[in-house]
């Protein structure tokens, strides 16, 4: 593997990390506010379908993105209603939304487009195209290494990739340097403290979950209209769950979540690259075994290396006013 191969793998890691990153940051808001979100997967899938469908019909990737976000927010609000107002079990609500998305997307895709549960292939303005940053070509030609990194790794992605990575410092700032972030973190630790200070626990959780909806929507749209070129049945393939694992591995912190997502992205990139490669002594490893690698690693990381991930204290518990 030479230098440009490494750059290619890293480039591919970044692309593969983006949906994870959107979903992990999305989960961060919800979970920091004390609401477990196992429904990230469902929201990604719902948004992926809505974005692809809307882009196919209207011809605009941006309208697709909007549709994805709207669908994701709607699903998030159902989750918020179940968790906050109905004080339901948040795991059950999340799982229900996952199943709902899995079924409804295929049924609607079949009903609307008659392509075996997929949406039509998107092209041109129906997708988010790559953006070349200024002087990319010149830098690659004139500056060794750094120029290539700039041109290949940093430049040449679509807008959603940049938005995903921009969301990291924004999230870190919002969470740790604003009033809203302080309150969200507080409501996840001790909602009674907020209630007795005269604030509404439910309203804060709704706000946090709303942000979750926006970010998941962008993640879903990325899958079908930027990384891919159509919606396919179950196209998220567990990314929502991996994002949740990354979030826990990162102990609910934004920068750490980004690095974890990049790590998972890198594993996926290696997985693609290692398919069909002859290993010394072992020979060619069956493709299924290699495809399973990121998932196996998720389990190992979570079980063995995460240390004690201390979640927000009130996570998963519906808030009931005491006495």
């Amino acid at each position: 593997m030479d230098f440009s191969d490494i750059i290619l793998v890293l480039d591919s890691s970044v692309r593969l990390a983006v949906p994870l990153l959107f979903a992990a940051l999305a989960g961060l808001y919800s979970e920091r506010s004390g609401v477990v979100d196992i429904g990230l997967e469902g929201k990604l899938l719902g948004a992926a379908f809505a974005a692809a469908a809307a882009a196919a019909v209207t011809g605009s990737a941006w309208i697709g993105l909007g549709a994805g976000i709207v669908v994701s927010i709607s699903m998030a609000m159902i989750h918020a209603f179940a968790s906050v107002n109905m004080r339901g079990n948040q795991i059950i609500s999340g799982v229900a939304l996952n199943f709902l998305a899995l079924g409804v997307t295929v049924v609607l895709a079949e009903a609307w487009f008659r392509r075996g549960g997929n949406t039509p292939n998107l092209s041109g303005d129906q997708r988010f195209g790559s953006i070349d940053l200024p002087f990319a070509a010149e830098a690659q030609a004139n500056i060794p290494f750094v120029g290539e990194i700039y041109a290949q790794l940093i430049s040449g992605h679509n807008i959603l990739v940049y938005l995903a990575f921009l969301a990291v410092p924004i999230t870190a700032y919002v969470m740790f340097h604003t009033r809203f972030g302080l309150r969200v973190r507080a409501v996840g630790e001790n909602p009674t403290a907020l209630d007795t200070a005269g604030m509404s626990v439910g309203w804060l959780r709704y706000q946090a979950i709303f942000v979750t909806g926006i970010l998941c929507g962008a993640g879903g749209a990325y899958l079908s209209t930027a990384q891919g070129a159509s919606f396919t049945d179950n196209m998220t393939a567990g990314r929502g769950f991996i994002a949740l694992a990354a979030l826990i591995f990162a102990k609910w912190r934004p920068w750490q979540a980004m690095f974890t997502c990049l790590l998972f992205g890198f594993l996926s990139a290696m997985q693609i690259r290692l398919q069909g490669v002859e290993f010394p002594l072992i020979g060619e490893v069956p493709v299924q075994a290699i495809q399973a690698l990121p998932y196996i690693l998720t389990v190992i990381l979570l079980a063995g290396f995460v240390g004690r991930a201390i979640p927000p204290k009130s996570i998963g518990q519906p808030y009931v006013k005491e006495r």
Partner: protein, 531 residues
């Protein structure tokens, strides 16, 4: 000790200095509140004068907390009127109460543990969307508050890392930061050590001097006598009397609280010690961090006597109890029950000791004594569920267990009398009775009791004390650990004082005046020499 007599001595003069008929900070008229069929507050009329400390006493369940929750906007009263500084108000929520200058320090602190003290203080009262700006202002304000009221805290310390006393100061600061003029403190000393409680009282005096009004809810009469100007007694949802503290006495207050005469001092006959039942030799116990907490302790408890262990909390009493009850393996030393040494290996020490005839009422009933999510009858057999009388093999004889629970409910006057009720729904005193009933109502040789009346109201304290004395008179050996010196003094036939892991003194009943014991507890070996 000398300090409390000073304050008591001053009280009548101080009260006389104050003008009569001063301004009223809070007035409640005809407040009623029901929860289903339960009338928690009945026609409450209450006036709290500005610049005073007003005590509200009453047993658990008397309606004190409900009344304060109405005042703080947690609940809305079914009927009645509230006046704050002469203005009629309708308090809709906590935010509104805060705007009216009413702040509350809850019994269980409303703090976010991973946050710093500053973050906790500004939470909900941030004056800008950007945190740094709010924090800078709060830091300056906190400095001023610290100077005005000698409420010193480290603003950047993480709340979860500081002591309970400090956490309480943060709660008070939170209320003051929001501009509270009227402070409600709900059972503020329940979680404090005696030294921390003294510190709190000094802070409260300071606040009163600065013109703040304080409502102190408690069931500890000593606190009422020490700090309050006026006191209202609540019983079964009603205020039964409001008097100047200077004009009343603990006996009168206790009687008003319970509705009958209460003996604050336990009556008991002289002990008749028999054979040695519990023998502890050269016991050394380390805590979880490997720090020795009990150092070379030897003691004996005979049949028919109560041995009390006095000491400031944290001097090894807890670890000693844990070792004797089999919860913690000692590093060195031996424990004998009725002459038979108990061996420790593995985790079944507690079960083995129980089979040997030892019963244990743990210090912390909620953490060690009960599963509060269980129904009462389940807790009534917990730890003894393998006994043959509750069924054989894998089968649990639920009927037998429930019948026994019903019998114990009657015998120990546990209320409510429903064995199917979740244990969390019993009051502290009744939870303690559930533990006591389970541990005492069986064949035993040695009873170990830790903090038997912590957080328990007066009527129940009397009952529990009488039960312990009755066990003694039946010829059981009883080891009592309590941080309440009064309790140790009134129950024990012999008192051992523990300091820094050692037993540094043994005092017989009657020879123990409060001052001498206090000096021993402070680690002075020869109180006579310290004169």
């Amino acid at each position: 000790m000398s300090e409390s007599t000073d304050t008591n001595g001053q009280r009548p003069d101080a009260a006389a200095d104050r003008p009569q008929g001063r301004e009223v900070a809070i007035e409640l008229r005809g407040i009623n509140k029901s929860f289903g069929p339960v009338r928690a507050n009945k026609n409450i009329d209450l006036k709290v004068e500005k610049g005073t400390v007003h005590g509200i006493v009453g047993e658990n369940g008397a309606g004190k907390s409900t009344l304060m929750s109405i005042l703080y906007g947690f609940y809305t009263a079914d009927s009645g009127e509230i006046f704050v500084n002469g203005q009629k108000v309708t308090i809709t929520d906590s935010k509104h109460a805060l705007e009216l200058g009413i702040g509350m320090v809850h019994q269980h602190f409303m703090l976010v543990e991973p946050f710093t003290i500053l973050e906790n203080i500004i939470l909900g009262a941030e004056d800008s969307a950007i945190l740094e700006t709010s924090i800078a202002r709060a830091r300056a304000e906190l400095k001023r508050l610290a100077e005005d009221y000698s409420l010193t805290v480290d603003p950047d310390a993480v709340v979860g890392d500081v002591s309970v006393g400090q956490q309480q100061r943060v709660e008070i600061l939170k209320a003051l930061y929001r501009g509270a003029d009227i402070l409600i403190l709900d059972e503020p000393t329940g979680v404090l050590t005696p030294a921390e409680a003294d510190h709190l009282f000094r802070i409260l005096e300071q606040l009163r001097e600065q013109g703040k009004t304080i409502i102190l809810i408690t069931h500890k009469l000593r606190e009422i006598m020490a700090i309050t100007d006026n006191v209202s007694v609540m019983r079964q949802g009603e205020i039964v009397s409001t008097v100047r503290t200077a004009d009343t006495s603990p006996d009168k207050l206790a009687e008003a609280m319970v509705g009958r005469h209460v003996l604050l001092r336990v009556e008991k006959d002289k002990a008749n010690p028999g054979d040695i039942r519990l023998e502890v030799n050269n016991l050394t116990v380390k805590d979880d961090l490997g720090v020795p907490r009990v150092k070379d302790v030897s003691l004996t408890v005979r049949a028919g006597e109560i041995v009390g262990i006095a000491g400031v909390a944290g001097n090894g009493q807890s670890e000693l109890l844990e070792a004797i009850s089999g919860m913690r393996e000692p590093v060195l030393g031996e424990i004998k029950i009725s002459g038979n040494p108990v061996t420790f290996h593995g985790d079944d020490g507690a079960a083995r000791l129980r089979r040997a005839g030892l019963a244990h009422v743990p210090e912390d009933r909620q953490r060690l004594g009960l599963v509060t999510a269980f129904e009462e009858w389940e807790n009534s057999i917990l730890g003894y569920q393998d006994d043959d009388r509750y069924g054989k093999g894998l089968q649990l004889d639920i009927k037998a267990a429930r019948e026994e629970a019903v019998r114990r409910i009657e015998k120990f006057d546990i209320r409510p009398t429903n064995p199917r009720l979740k244990t969390a729904n019993f009051s502290g005193g009744n939870q303690q009775k559930i533990v006591l009933a389970r541990e005492m109502d069986r064949d035993l040789e040695v009873l170990i009791v830790g903090q038997p009346t912590r957080g328990v109201d007066i009527g129940a304290i009397e009952f529990i004390h009488n039960q312990i004395i009755a066990m003694r008179d039946e010829g059981k050996a009883i080891l009592l650990v309590s941080v309440e010196l009064d309790e140790i003094r009134s129950l024990s036939d012999r008192i051992l004082v523990m300091f820094d892991g050692h037993i540094i003194a043994e005092v017989a009943e009657g020879e123990a005046d409060e001052r001498t014991l206090g000096l021993y507890m402070a680690g002075v070996n020869e109180p006579a020499a310290a004169e």
